[in-house]
């Protein structure tokens, strides 16, 4: 791995000869790659760097298109809880950004324990025969389109979860988040809430967290597992002392990537919430929003390129992109580090 990463070894063979005896000093290899190889590598490097180009282009064009809105609103873009882009133009992300973060947080509260639990179950507890099926099911869960999650959440889950919503509000209403300021009886007061959107998004995040953490868990060194068993540990004791500490980095990274996904989930949230533009932390009450849902709902109203409405949406999209890019990149770095640590082991 080290030879591959350092980049100054020119001959390709060198990448795979790492296990030289320690007392020999390896001869410096300085073969020149052929012209064909040099072109080949150049093309591949170009393809690799294209992901940077795409990310850069996204950033550049979102900034270009959002300048107008930023110029007009200035700092109040960050402090306004409204979205009026026609004449008395008064818009900002102070409501939709925290509302979206609230949905993502609810999703994470459910998805992180569930995802880690399922990952542990697959990698440690499930019998061999169930394991393959379960992995396939989690992969399928990731492949189910978000519009199907939206349909299911709106028409299957929502009518069934409303009773539970009311139950939470009645009995746990002393917790500020569950406090509910209207009568419970017409269930329309409870429908289309931040909480329901959060539950549906959590189902979409579970497969991400599960598959990433499962990969890390299954790489926990066999010797240490057997060591724990040999010392008389139970299976759960082994999981707690070997697998979980080993997988901590991967789990943190998986959680952050899941958070990035939850922050940006569009279609299921758009279908479920009743859009509002005032921040409200009472998650059981009807009404919620997110930046992505606002974009999906309002983009069609502004066909002309130069309109303020479109620029405002681009500005909101830029904020969302910046936020998720930071969260995801940190998560990917954490995962990459846990991965490279494992690479030096073998």
């Amino acid at each position: 791995m080290a030879g591959k990463e350092s980049g100054d070894i020119v001959m390709p063979v060198a990448a795979h000869t790492q296990t030289a005896p320690s007392d020999d000093t390896p001869r410096a290899i300085s073969a020149m790659p052929s012209t064909g190889d040099r072109i080949f590598r150049g093309v591949l490097r170009g393809a690799g760097l294209s992901v940077f180009v795409i990310t850069g282009l996204i950033l550049v064009f979102l900034i270009l298109r959002s300048i107008k809105a930023f110029k007009y609103r200035g700092l109040s873009f960050l402090t306004t809880q409204a979205w009026i882009t026609t004449n008395p133009q008064h818009f900002g992300i102070a409501a939709i950004l925290p509302l979206g973060i609230l949905i993502a947080l609810i999703a994470m509260v459910i998805a992180v324990p569930a995802g880690i639990g399922i990952a542990l179950f697959i990698s440690e507890y499930a019998p061999q025969s169930i394991r393959r099926t379960l992995i396939a099911i989690i992969d399928l869960m990731a492949a189910i389109p978000s519009i199907i999650y939206g349909l299911w959440g709106l028409l299957f889950l929502q009518p069934r979860i409303l009773g539970f919503d009311g139950w939470l509000g009645r009995h746990l209403g002393f917790i500020p988040f569950f406090h509910y300021r209207k009568p419970y009886t017409p269930s329309a007061y409870l429908a289309q809430s931040t909480f329901i959107a959060g539950v549906v998004v959590s189902l979409m995040v579970i497969p991400i967290i599960t598959s990433l953490s499962r990969q890390v868990f299954s790489q926990a060194p066999q010797g240490e597992r057997e060591g724990a068993y040999a010392l008389g540990s139970t299976r759960w004791g082994m999981v707690r002392t070997v697998v979980l500490p080993f997988g901590r980095g991967g789990v943190i990274g998986a959680t952050m990537l899941g958070l990035g996904r939850a922050l940006g989930e569009t279609i299921a949230v758009t279908l479920i919430i009743a859009p509002v533009f005032a921040f409200n932390y009472h998650i059981l009450e009807s009404g919620g929003n997110s930046i992505a849902a606002t974009i999906a709902l309002y983009f069609a109203s502004f066909p002309s390129a130069g309109s303020m409405g479109l620029s405002a949406l681009m500005a909101a999209g830029l904020v969302l992109f910046g936020m998720t890019l930071i969260v995801n990149t940190l998560g990917a770095m954490v995962i990459g580090r846990s991965r490279s640590g494992q690479a030096t082991n073998d």
Partner: protein
């Protein structure tokens, strides 16, 4: 994990492997007893004593009580470590079962609700041109959406797959200083909000370059979302191609590009196809990128370069928001089609993925045998 001490004593009897995960009678009875006890207790408390109502709340309370009772019953029989082990095992089993149930429920719900309209033969043969708000269920269909979906996913695959696989080959074969940041960005892009790629194509191709809203614009947006998926999955496959194969090629004097094209990529072929098919399954269900870039059409448009086009997810998104019940049922019909397509792609991917890199298919083995027979015949003839 109780090891039989007598088994390790004199080696008189033949070794019998110890079955570590046997289901014992008392283990099963403890489980059933805790479940039944919790059901009774919660029913009395929840329905009769406390002012609680609601089915989901009932089952949540039941599950909590069940865990407590199970722990208590286990504590009567086993030591503390075993109790923790058993409770953790039960909790984790629930997680696995719950995930399975949710996936099956989602798929089945869409299929069952969609079946009501899919039965009408015309549903896949008509578009929405003759359909109005008061039309019967038999009028109107998804032909235009299916055509749009197929064209868009084909174009997006043509754009994303070569670039994605080349990036993966860069990560796995070339490496160097840039490989780590590239891998980080690819990982970050896999979890990028799907609406951002739509917004990007809207800002870049449609507003700046003046491309019309069309199937091609939608394909570009889909390609942006599929690219990192292809790259990540392909890199994972390329990494498990045995290094000895590459070294053999180098030892025979092969250059790097020859080695990659003739040894590494063919060896990983099945895994690469899995990566492609999985990315297609993901791309086909994306709504948000298409929403911003394809427009929405009620009539069949086979030309992806001009005019607005509809895809299946987009069709569902608009139909489900209409108030009429017939429209909602049509949305489920389209959902039926979408789920079937995703399931087919998914199972193709699983089938392809079952083949390890370097493992030969039956056809390849036959070919090799035939080649060998021909070679012996050639050598045998002159002598």
């Amino acid at each position: 994990m109780t090891v039989d001490t007598e088994a390790a004593a004199p080696a008189a009897a033949p070794d019998r492997p110890l079955r570590l995960r046997r289901v014992t009678t008392e283990g099963a009875l403890t489980l059933i007893g805790a479940a039944a006890g919790a059901l009774g207790l919660v029913w009395v408390l929840y329905e009769r004593v406390l002012p609680f109502t609601g089915a989901i709340g009932f089952w949540l309370c039941w599950y909590g009580t069940f865990l407590v009772l199970y722990a208590a019953m286990a504590a009567l029989q086993w030591d503390k470590l075993t109790v923790r082990d058993r409770v953790a095992a039960v909790a984790l089993w629930t997680g696995g079962l719950l995930a399975t149930a949710i996936v099956i429920d989602q798929v089945a719900y869409t299929l069952v609700r969609g079946f009501a309209v899919v039965r009408h033969v015309g549903f896949f043969r008509q578009d929405m041109a003759n359909e109005g708000p008061l039309s019967a269920q038999t009028v109107g269909g998804v032909r235009h959406a299916i055509i749009g979906t197929l064209e868009q996913i084909t174009l997006a695959t043509i754009i994303a797959v070569p670039l994605g696989i080349m990036a993966a080959v860069f990560l796995a074969e070339v490496g160097g200083r840039m490989s780590r940041p590239v891998r980080t960005i690819v990982d970050a892009m896999t979890a990028l909000p799907d609406i951002i790629s739509g917004l990007f194509i809207l800002a870049f191709a449609i507003l700046t370059l003046g491309m019309p809203r069309s199937g091609l614009a939608a394909s570009l947006a889909l390609a942006v979302t599929m690219l990192p998926i292809v790259t990540r999955a392909s890199e994972a496959v390329l990494r498990i191609v045995p290094g000895t194969l590459r070294e053999a090629s180098y030892a025979l004097g092969g250059s790097q590009w020859r080695t990659v094209l003739n040894v590494v990529l063919p060896t990983a072929r099945s895994g690469l196809s899995t990566a492609v098919v999985l990315a297609m399954a993901r791309g086909i269900g994306e709504t948000a990128p298409v929403l911003l870039t394809a427009g929405y059409s009620r009539v069949t448009n086979v030309d992806p370069l001009h005019n607005w086009q509809t895809s299946l997810p987009l069709y569902i998104f608009y139909e489900i928001q209409l108030p009429q019940n017939t429209e909602k049922v049509r949305a489920f019909g389209a959902g039926f089609a979408l789920v079937i397509v995703v399931l087919i792609l998914f199972f193709i991917a699983r089938r392809l993925g079952g083949v390890a890199p370097g493992e030969l298919t039956r056809r390849q083995r036959r070919e090799i045998a035939r080649e060998g027979a021909r070679a012996t015949a050639r050598e045998g003839a002159p002598s």
